[in-house]
Amino acid sequence: MDNTLVTPAISLRHYVLVFGVCLLLWVLLVGNLAVQELLAGVVVSALVTLLFGSRFGILTGLRFSPLVPLYIAGYLGYFMVALVRANLDLALRVIAPSLPIRPALVEVKTTLKSPLGRLLLANSITLTPGTLTVDVLDDTLLVHWVYCPPGTDMQQATDKIAASFERHIGRFLL
């Protein structure tokens, strides 16, 4: 299997996407939909897209299909649940007088190939129960685990830490 980082070529779709993200951010920051504001937003977004679109390679891994918003929503929902669980888990460990931790550094393999996909996976791992991404080397993530069960190998660690997130992220990113 080819494990190198893949950054797909920049196409017209990519520019449209960058423009859309810029405009969305503009509208959210302005906070209303007045025509004047929208026009200014379109001009600024177009300018930014023209100037920096070709260097904004991180968005290129996105898949294009009508279901993508649904998948992103699904991922966000799953992620929020994991974030709350992570905090409760950590709170219990911190409060418990015996401090039940068994920290270890483990390696996790990923099948995601795009830069944004790996960034999202690393972020997700950092914010989920008991794990913190320390380093990303090609397709291997070095993860610090607060409670590593005895005798865990790489495959088991991958299944436990990354597999479910990878499934969710893999639906909308390369």
């Binding site: 920051l29 906070g31 974030l83 992570a86 950590l90 709170a91 401090l99 931790i101 690393a122 610090h144």
Partner: protein, 101 residues
């Protein structure tokens, strides 16, 4: 509405407090980072949600703030952990459950 906002502000504060407790109790840098990152992220989100209930017309800006916090907070922690590892700070390894804190 205001009561709901207050509740979320309180939850956020509680998570932040727990995170700080974690900072004190955990044995080494990596574990402390874990406690700090997660608590700070969820704490901030809960506080933003609470503010959202108090000022419903601010939701768009709060959403942007939440997005940036969610995206940058873990990257920052990851980078600190990476720098620590590269500068040779050894992580405490399993087995020894209670380490001098």
């Amino acid at each position: 509405m205001n009561l709901l906002g207050d509740i979320f502000l309180l939850i956020g504060g509680a998570f932040m407090a727990l995170g700080s407790l974690g900072l004190i109790r955990m044995p080494d840098l990596y574990n402390r980072l874990q406690a700090g990152t997660k608590a700070a992220t969820l704490g901030t989100l809960a506080v933003l949600l609470g503010i959202g209930f108090h000022h419903p017309d601010w939701w768009a800006k709060l959403l942007v703030i939440a997005g940036f916090v969610l995206f940058t907070n873990p990257v920052g922690s990851s980078t600190i952990a990476r720098a620590a590892l590269k500068s040779g700070i050894e992580p405490v390894h399993g087995g020894n459950r209670k380490v001098e804190s």
